[in-house]
Amino acid sequence: MAAPAVPLLDRRLLFVTGKGGVGKTTVASALGVLAARQGKRTLVCEFDAKGNLADFFGSEPTAFDPIEVHQGLFAMSMDTEESLKEYLRLQIKVPLLAKIGPLARTLDFVANAAPGVKEILTVGKVAWEVKEGHYDLVIADAAASGHVVAQISAPQAIGELVKVGLVREQTGWLSEILDDAATTGTVIVSAPEEMPVSETLELADRIRADTRVDIAAVAVNRVLPELFGRGEEEVFEALAAPGARERLDALVGHPTSPLFDAARLAVTLRRTRAEHLDRLRRELPADIPLLYLPELFTRTHGSRATHQVAEALAAELGLEA
C-alpha cells in the first residue's frame, strides 16, 4: 500500500457496512449530507429493501427511483427485481419487453438461490450509476458484515460459476470500478463494544483477503465523551468521600448522591468503551484511517441526528462543515 490514501469524499463509490444496528444508515446518510454540502451531486442507496433511510432525511419514503431529499442529495432504495428489469431494458430489444414482468420474478428466484446473481444486480446498479456519471458520489448503505463480502466480490464469484451469458459479460467493467481504490472504497462502521469490534476486525481481514476493494475508513460510532480531565477524578473522589459529600449536600440544599452515582456510571461506561476502542486501534491494520463519531444524547435519529453526525464527520475529515 504505497500510494497515499484517496480522500474519502473524492472517491466515486462508497460501501458503508458493519454489524447490524451500529449505525450504518446513520453514517451513510451523514456522508451524503456532507458530500452534497461540498457541492457534489450525491446518491445514497439503501440496499435493505425494508430499511428506513427516509427517516434519516425526514423525507418521503424512498423507492427505486431516486428522490431529491436536499439540494444535490438523492436517496433511493434497492430493489433487485427493478434492477433486473432496468438492466434487461437496457440490454434486450423491444419485442421481449412485455415478458419481462413475470420473467423477472422467476429470475429473481433463481437469483436468490444462485450465488452472486442477486449481489451483482445490487452492486451492478450502483456501479452503473458511477459508470454513467449520473452522480459525483454514490454511497451504498450496504449489507451487514456477514454479507457485504459476497456483494463486493460478486464479479469474481460470478466469473467462476457462470462461464457465458450477459451476466458474465458485465463482470469486466464492474471489477474495474470496484477494484480501483481511487474510485471505490468501503467504510466499516463500528462501535466501541466487544462484538462490534470483533466483527470489524474480522470483516477488515476478510475484505482484504477475499476482495480487491479498498477499505477507505473505519468509522467508530457512539464514542462517549470523557467526563473528567487530568486531576479532576481526584477532585471528584475528594467530594465523594464520606463527610465531604454531606457538606456538599448542605451547600446545595439537596441530596447530591444521584449525581455521584450517575457520574460513576458515566465513567464506567466510558472506560469500558475506551477499552474496546483501544483493542480496535491496536488490532486494526495501521493504514486504515479511524474516524470517531460521538454518542448523541438529545436526538439519536432523524434528520437532526444525521446533520449532527455530518458535523462530526466534517471535523474528523478536516473539512469545513
Partner: protein
C-alpha cells in the same frame, strides 16, 4: 387431531418459568443480550433448580465462549466444568451444558438423514452449489437452529433447553423458517426450475423463461442449478414432515419465548413487533427482559432539579467548597469544572433515561413477566457475571 390445550397462564417469576417449561427461546434484535440472557438463565437454572440444562447458543462473545469451555466444540454438547462454577463461588445442584450451532455440520447431518440413498447423498454433498445455496435460501440459519432444537428435545437428554436465536435481520424470520422451508419444497417455482431435465422442450409456458435465462446466465449455469435442486427435491418428504414437527414443538405449552430488548428505539420497535407476532401465532410469551437499562434515579425529578442547580451554581458552590475546606480541596476552578461535568452528564443521561422510560411503558403494556436488567459494570464474560445478571432476572 387433538384440540390444542389452552395456554398456561404466564409465569409470575423466572424461577417458575424455568421450573415449568422444557424449551425456552430467547429472541430479539442483534446485540441486545440474547446470548447473554440465554446463558444466564441456564446458569441460574443449573444452580438453583438442578437437573440437566442445555444452552444451545449461536454466537457467544469470545470471552464468554472461553469461560464456558465452548472453544473448539462445534455441534458437540459439552458440560461447563465445575471449576467455572467454583470460580464464581457456587456449587450447582444440576448440570449446565452448552453447545454451539455449526451450520455446515448441521446441514450435512440433514442431508445424511433425508437423502434417499447413498448416491444422492454423495451427489448433494459434492455439488458445488450446495454450500452457497444452503447458506442463502429460506433463512437456513434459522431453520437449522429450530431443527437442532427439535432433535435434542426429542432425544430426551435434558430437563431444560434454552435456545439462543441467530442474529437475523428480522427477529421474526426464524419463527417462519420451518414453514418457509416446507413451502420452498412444495413451491411451483422449484418444480419449474427442476423441469428442464424432464420436459424442458414441451412446456410452452416456461420456454421464454429458459431462453431468456440462457441468454442472461448461460445454459450451463442453469443446468448446474437445476441439477442441484433436482437432487435436493428427493429430500422433500423428510424435510416437510420435519418442518411440521418443529412448528408443533414451538407452539406447545411447554415451550416459551423470552423477548430480550434494550430500550433503544430501534430494538424496542422490533421487540414490540415480535411480541405481536408471537401472539398472532398463538405462541407463548413467557417473559420480557429489558436489558442494559439506565437506573431509575435518572428520571427522579428532584435529582434532575439538583443536577440543574449544580450546573447553574457550579462556580458559586465551588468557592464555598474551597472556603469551607470540604475534602481539603483548594482549586476552585477545578472544582467548578467537576461539578459542572457531573451536572451536565446527569442531564445528558436523563434525556436518554426519559426516552427509555417511555419505551419501557410501551413494551410493558403486555401482562406477564417483565424483568429490567441494568448496565452491568463490564461485559458479561464468566459464570459469576452470568449469575449476577441472572439474579436481576430472578428478583
Amino acid at each position: 387431531m387433538a384440540k390444542k390445550p389452552a395456554p398456561l397462564p404466564p409465569p409470575a417469576t423466572f424461577e417458575q418459568l424455568l421450573s415449568t417449561r422444557e424449551i425456552v427461546v430467547t429472541c430479539g434484535s442483534g446485540g441486545v443480550g440474547k446470548t447473554t440472557t440465554a446463558a444466564a438463565a441456564g446458569a441460574m437454572a443449573a444452580v438453583h433448580l438442578g437437573g440437566k440444562v442445555l444452552v444451545l447458543t449461536v454466537d457467544p462473545a469470545r470471552r464468554l465462549a472461553t469461560a464456558l469451555g465452548l472453544e473448539q466444540f462445534g455441534n458437540v454438547e459439552t458440560q461447563v466444568p465445575a471449576e467455572a462454577f467454583a470460580a464464581a463461588g457456587v456449587e450447582p445442584r444440576g448440570e449446565l451444558w452448552v453447545a454451539m450451532l455449526d451450520m455446515k455440520a448441521s446441514w450435512d447431518d440433514l442431508v445424511e438423514r433425508y437423502a434417499p440413498d447413498e448416491e444422492t447423498r454423495e451427489a448433494i454433498l459434492a455439488n458445488p452449489l450446495y454450500q452457497n445455496i444452503t447458506g442463502k435460501f429460506v433463512q437456513s440459519h434459522d431453520y437449522i437452529a429450530m431443527e437442532r432444537l427439535y432433535e435434542i428435545h426429542v432425544s430426551g437428554r435434558y430437563d431444560l433447553i434454552i435456545v439462543d436465536t441467530p442474529p437475523t435481520r428480522n427477529a421474526i424470520d426464524f419463527l417462519e423458517a420451518p414453514e418457509r422451508m416446507a413451502d420452498f419444497f412444495s413451491s411451483r417455482l422449484l418444480r419449474w426450475l427442476t423441469a428442464p431435465a424432464r420436459s424442458r422442450i414441451l412446456s410452452t409456458a416456461s420456454k421464454p423463461f429458459y431462453s431468456m435465462a440462457d441468454r442472461i446466465l448461460g445454459s450451463q449455469f442453469l443446468q448446474d442449478i437445476a441439477d442441484f435442486f433436482l437432487l435436493f427435491q428427493t429430500m422433500y418428504d423428510g424435510f416437510v414432515e420435519r418442518a411440521r414437527s418443529i412448528e408443533r414443538t414451538l407452539a406447545d405449552r411447554s415451550t416459551t419465548f423470552i423477548v430480550v430488548s434494550t430500550l433503544d428505539t430501534a430494538p424496542a420497535r422490533e421487540a414490540e413487533f415480535f411480541i405481536e407476532a408471537l401472539s398472532e401465532r398463538e405462541l407463548n410469551l413467557g417473559a420480557l427482559v429489558l436489558n442494559k437499562v439506565l437506573p431509575p434515579f435518572f428520571v427522579d425529578p428532584d435529582a434532575g432539579a439538583t443536577a440543574e442547580q449544580v450546573c447553574r451554581e457550579s462556580a458559586d458552590l465551588a468557592e464555598r467548597v474551597v472556603a469551607d475546606g470540604v475534602g481539603g480541596l483548594t482549586d476552585a476552578g477545578q472544582v467548578t469544572r467537576v461539578l459542572r461535568e457531573m451536572g451536565e452528564s446527569f442531564v445528558n443521561y436523563r434525556v436518554v433515561a426519559t426516552r427509555e422510560a417511555e419505551e419501557a411503558a410501551v413494551l410493558g403494556e403486555r401482562p406477564g413477566l417483565v424483568a429490567a436488567v441494568p448496565y452491568l459494570e463490564s461485559d458479561v464474560h464468566d459464570v459469576a457475571g452470568l449469575l449476577e445478571l441472572g439474579e436481576r432476572l430472578w428478583t
